[in-house]
Symmetry: C2
Subunit: 224 residues, 2 copies
């Protein structure tokens, strides 16, 4: 028996913590356990189609952009026999979570748990813990050299907000001055632009300028 599935690692940032979306499995093996959303690939679709379907049907999320992570395969990863899973990763804004869910209110619920939770390592079925680990590693790897982490930001955002996201993704403090210089370079290159308006002074004091991203891109210089 050959089993070919797509699993999707949906990452989001909640209060500076990197979270991964899990759903309750509705059939054996591991029925009732939390796992990455996944489906069997149909003979009429691509692995990517299947990953989008998994996110929609199991997690209730309508994803727009996903990226293939890698394929995990072998005779031992599924108790039913040889299997292959094409793993995809997606980044979503947590604020969009609610509105995205409205597209598919009939589906199961998706739970976001911290990627760093030690229990994940033991509690996730199959090799899902490894998948999460590799997805986070790729995000961190691309973090310093692309606007990829900006996928976590709302449409309009401030420089301090953007820096917080990068700090959370990279897991380290970023020099504020260097970061602003990088932002200035991004603006010069047309990768981001000022949004004109200003943010309501949230918790405290001076309001910050608003910015927006002009498409996800990779660049040469390190950001932060």
């Amino acid at each position: 028996m050959t089993i070919v599935t797509s699993d999707v690692i949906i990452l989001t940032l909640i209060d500076g913590n990197l979270m991964v979306g899990l759903v309750e499995r509705d059939h054996e093996p591991f029925e009732g356990r939390l796992a990455l959303p996944g489906v069997f690939i149909k003979e009429t679709e691509t692995a990517e189609d299947a990953a989008l379907r998994a996110a929609h049907d199991k997690g209730g999320l309508k994803l727009s952009h996903i990226e293939q992570l890698r394929t995990f395969s072998g005779p031992d990863r599924d108790p039913r026999g040889w299997s292959a899973s094409v793993a995809y990763m997606a980044l979503i804004r947590h604020s969009d979570h609610q509105s995205l869910r409205r597209f598919a209110p009939h589906t199961g619920e998706i739970f976001f748990v911290p990627c760093s939770l030690p229990a994940l390592r033991n509690d996730l079925p199959f090799d899902h813990a490894l998948m999460v680990e590799e997805a986070v590693a790729r995000l961190r790897g691309k973090g310093a050299y692309s606007t990829m982490p900006a996928a976590f930001l709302p449409e309009a955002f401030t420089v301090p907000e953007m820096r917080e996201v990068y700090e959370a993704v990279l897991g380290q403090r970023i020099n504020d001055s260097s970061f602003r210089k990088a932002v200035a370079r991004l603006e010069k290159d047309g990768l981001i632009s000022r949004s004109g308006s200003r943010a309501p002074s949230g918790a405290s004091k001076r309001p910050a300028s608003l910015w927006r991203i002009n498409g996800v891109s990779t660049f040469n210089e390190k950001i932060g």
Copy 2:
């Protein structure tokens, strides 16, 4: 019918030209045509095992390191029906080609053709042309930031030889002075080391110092 295979993109550098290894297909579809070495994945092995087996059984090459590129899947890529191919890439020294082949002299022959050959685009079956394109893109992408291209170099090599390899991989001239500074940094970080001896003055004049790589690695600074 579900078809799950592994294909391997074997790249090498011959006289400054990036080449890809092709073999003659021994069964339908596309029997007798040149294509990437590939096999059906057995129920006892992983996709990576299968890729190594493809390189050995079809191409006569005993590869040590391969890297997963990505999985290509869908109902339309194989005339027999839905299929998935887990694609792997490998870099070999052309000088090793002969000795590697001695391990499996009974197998079919592997032919190396230039990656840039326009005919590849039309002549390769399935989506193999796309696979080659993506493999070359990844090599170029990693080229400036890792010792990956050094896989094309012999055990001991000179700085000018190393620079030529990087120039061929990146497809552009590299500033000699900057490159040597990068080499000095690599030495300081223990990623490469002087080999003591000196190269026989090949075609002409002053001999160069020999160097060796201490494992493939990724680094922060741009090389070249």
